[in-house]
């Protein structure tokens, strides 16, 4: 399997706990360094997008299930949070709780259907569900979501935690990103993580060993959906606005592109890819008119010539230089 290139480069095994903390420090430090050169509100978006891509990487990179419907959970989280802020209370923590729980519930219900499908059908059924969600937001539940107009919301400041204060918002998102990274890192280095990697490598053998793979696939799907919903909630809190575009199935390309450019199947790849993609869009999209064309051509290039992604090739470079590369994965 070509997909498992990074998998074999990064050995499977329980990670050293100290190494995880070192990596968390590296992520925090690199974001803080970027904050010197880039506008801070960009980095807030970067961190949120990183969380979304991390959740997708769990599903695609680790379990090998390509989904074309991941934006559904992002949007579900965002809309649930906005509706909570509007109708219940403008409390950010309540919004986070409601958004994450509704994302998890949605993923649990949809996951029950989709994990029964394989390969191409999995990608397409997810796409179909995303399309249903997009339609619901756009016209089906128009009374609640305001259709094309989008849903504005405001969140009150709790103590010093004011989401409209850019440095505070950035700090909060960075902490969330690091926590999500820690959570997923612990997950993929646990026996559960080894199980989902085995499902990617050869599901039939895992079944043959007596495991109910459906259950593991469902759980992974729910976790990925929940984390994506969390990213959606954060997005809604910072922007104070959600629109049908945030649920659009077309947006999934961004996530897939990021995972591929960074290197699928390891969490660093997801973060590097997300930052790289956001940098490309923010720096180039304003100057280049034919953005979809460029994106399409770059996707083709990635598929044909750059499959291991940035982290995969960097790691190979390390190996060639004869050094002991940092133990990733």
């Amino acid at each position: 399997m070509n997909l498992s290139v990074t998998q074999s480069v990064f050995p499977v095994g329980p990670a050293n706990r100290l190494l995880v903390f070192r990596d968390m420090a590296i992520i925090a430090a690199s974001f803080l360094v970027m904050a010197i050169f880039l506008p801070m509100y960009w980095l807030t978006d970067f961190a949120i997008f990183c969380i979304l891509v991390l959740s997708f990487d769990l599903l695609y990179g680790y379990m090998g299930h390509l989904s074309f419907g991941h934006m559904l959970y992002f949007g579900a989280g965002g809309y649930a949070a906005s509706l909570t802020l509007l109708h219940l209370a403008p409390n950010p923590f309540l919004a986070i709780a409601v958004g994450v729980v509704s994302g998890a519930l949605l993923a649990a219900i949809v996951g029950f259907v989709v994990v029964r499908t394989e390969g191409a059908a999995f990608a397409l059924v997810n796409l179909a569900f995303n399309q249903i969600g997009f339609w619901l937001v756009l016209s089906g539940l128009q009374d609640y979501t305001h259709g094309e107009d989008g849903l504005p919301s405001t969140v009150e400041a709790i103590g010093f935690l004011d989401f409209y204060d850019t440095p505070v918002a950035f700090g909060f998102m960075l902490i969330c990103l690091i926590l999500v990274f820690w959570l997923l890192k612990s997950l993929v280095s646990s026996p559960f993580g080894i199980m989902i990697k085995s499902i990617k490598e050869n599901e039939d053998r895992v079944k043959f060993l007596g495991y109910n793979t459906l259950r593991y696939k469902w759980l992974t799907f729910v976790i990925a959906g929940t984390v994506a919903a969390f990213a959606g909630v954060l997005y809604a809190l910072v922007k104070g606005f959600v629109a049908p575009g945030d649920v659009s199935p077309l947006e999934n390309t961004r996530i897939i592109f990021s995972v591929l450019i960074g290197g699928a199947g390891n969490l660093y790849g997801a973060i590097v890819g997300a930052v790289a993609f956001e940098l490309i869009t923010n720096l180039l999209a304003t100057t280049i008119a034919r953005w979809e064309m460029i994106l399409g051509l770059m996707l083709l290039g990635l598929v044909f010539w750059f499959r291991k992604g940035i982290t995969g090739y960097t790691y190979e470079l390390f190996l060639k230089m004869g050094r002991r590369a940092p133990a990733a994965d």
Binding site: M1, N2, L3, Y60, G64, L66, F68, V113, R116, T117, G119, A120, A121, A123, L124, V125, L127, A128, F129, Q131, I132, W135, L136, S139, G140, P249, L250, T253, I256, L260, R290, W291, E292, M293, L295, G296, L297, L299, L300, L302, V303, F304, R307
Partner: protein
Amino acid sequence: MIDTLLYGVTIGAILYIFSIGLSITFGTMQIVNFAHGMVYSLGVYLFITFLPWVAGIFPLAMALAVAAMLPIAYLVERFIIRRLYGESLDYAIIATYAVLLIGADVIKYIWGTEPQPVSDPIGIPLVIFGVVIQLYRVVVFLSAIVLFIGLKIFFTRNVIGKVVIAALEDRDGVRALGLDVNKYFSIAFIIGSGLAVLGGVLYSPITTSEPYMGFHILLLAFAVVIVGGMGNLTGTFFSAFALGMVIAITGRLYSSAADTMVFVVMALVLLKDPIFNFFRKLVGKPAIS
């Protein structure tokens, strides 16, 4: 009632014509071909461009559009699909999706984002049981039937068709006979692409054309292929008409839910085994897996 039924069979006919190519690539190469949507929408835009050049003669412009798209379909097959054959499914999905994106952008670049209407080429209303229906829709339906019978003959009587059908069953078996499977797949792919353009052109007077039309019909067609069984051409025919009916009937009751209902049906089809097993357990029989 009659116009709803007629709308259903019209949509079903279009979906069938479009889905044949998808079903073939699905069945033979196990590749999900998003580029099919690119061929479809680019073909329709070429058709709209050709229409004034040939003094508005509908069939002539249609033939020109199909002819113009065949080389493009060949290039996609030769340089994208064939390179990805035998590789991981995901790369094929992503690469063909990239082709679809590029196609949509080319259309936006050349023709702009404005929806393009096409007028009904026949424009003769028929009155049946007091209901006015467009003759054009009957023609679309009949052409799908003719196509179905034609393809049936092609796949059972013609050598190329027979090889493709055999390869749908057992690709390695056909290779073992010394046949160059890739060549036949190329031909089948190009036929499928030509039919996609045909379906798009036939659909254009009923709807309006816009750069992202390929995405929309692809989703519906994937549902058709999944419901009908991947690579099962007869199944594709019946599921296309069944889902066309679903769209028409839902559309009459609650217009904006029409497309969504298709995906609900697809989910039910995918879930048929667990549901079936649930009822078997209820009557005390062991589950079938």
